[in-house]
Amino acid sequence: MLKGKVALVTGSSRGIGKAIALKLAGEGADVIVNYFRRREAAEETAREIEALGVTSQVIRANVGDPEKVDEMFDTISGSFGRLDILVNNAASGLPRSALELDAKVWEWTMDINARALLLCAQHAARLMGKRGGKIVSISSLGSSFVLPKYTAIGVSKATLEALTRYLAIELASRDICVNAVAASLVPTASGMLYASGGEQEMPAPPPTPPAGRLVSAEDIAGVVAFLCSEAAFMIRGQTITIDGGTSLAPFSLE
């Protein structure tokens, strides 16, 4: 259980981040809801967290902007004076293939999806101090496999996973456990918008994983909560795949 712990979930106004925030709150943690664009949704998430009997705070910050990251952690330091769990979930990107990408989109994607882990982990390690803590990032199958129009995001997720390994070792002696989860398509608003090419609702249902259904945000939240528990203390620098078997069975048996 996470009673007395303070968790920050970046990008938790909706989707996977929200499910993780609610899961950690359900296990007793006070949860800071970071958002960038959707204030009303973030405030609703915070209300749902507080209904679970724990404390919540909403902090706006674009995690791709180093100054805003600094300000976010100054706020956390002032409000809570500590941090025990960092869930690096916030992500962004546009559906573009390699030849369609320009430097602006590349940098935007890398800054939010990959560099934010570095900057947030630096602050988090300081606030975790000698108590140690947990850092979990949300990656995707696009880090290892080639998905259509996913180039910059896929590369940013590969960077995220490599950085997870480095951080895991460099922070190991401080009792900070650093890991990631990599999911296949999760039918959140963002996931479905992306799968449709960014313009409309999904035209056809995505392929069903061998496990018989799509991965849900709650599936991911459960694994993240496990990685935030003491049972996972000896798991370091790993990326756990959550895809219902999709990556092991790319060709249908039927």
């Binding site: 664009r37 959707r38 204030r39 009303e40 706006r60 546009l94 602006k104 989109v105 935007w108």
Partner: protein, 81 residues
Amino acid sequence: MSAVEDTVKDIVVKIVHCDREILKPEATFQDMKADSLDMVQVLVALEDEFGIEIPDEDAQKFKNFGDFVSYVEARVAEKKG
């Protein structure tokens, strides 16, 4: 033209790289050839410039450049309030 409108034009031109002349009140984002990342970056630049917040819940209602300017003017006036 208000000072706010002038600054909004400066920001849109700098980020979207469109001609300043096309930024009439009725100009749509298609007219500006702005993609979704351009729009987010314009919103963030406006927020930093004017010290306001423009959440997506509001930004999604903007249909053209005029909506943008009116919104920012209203928020800036509110702030001075």
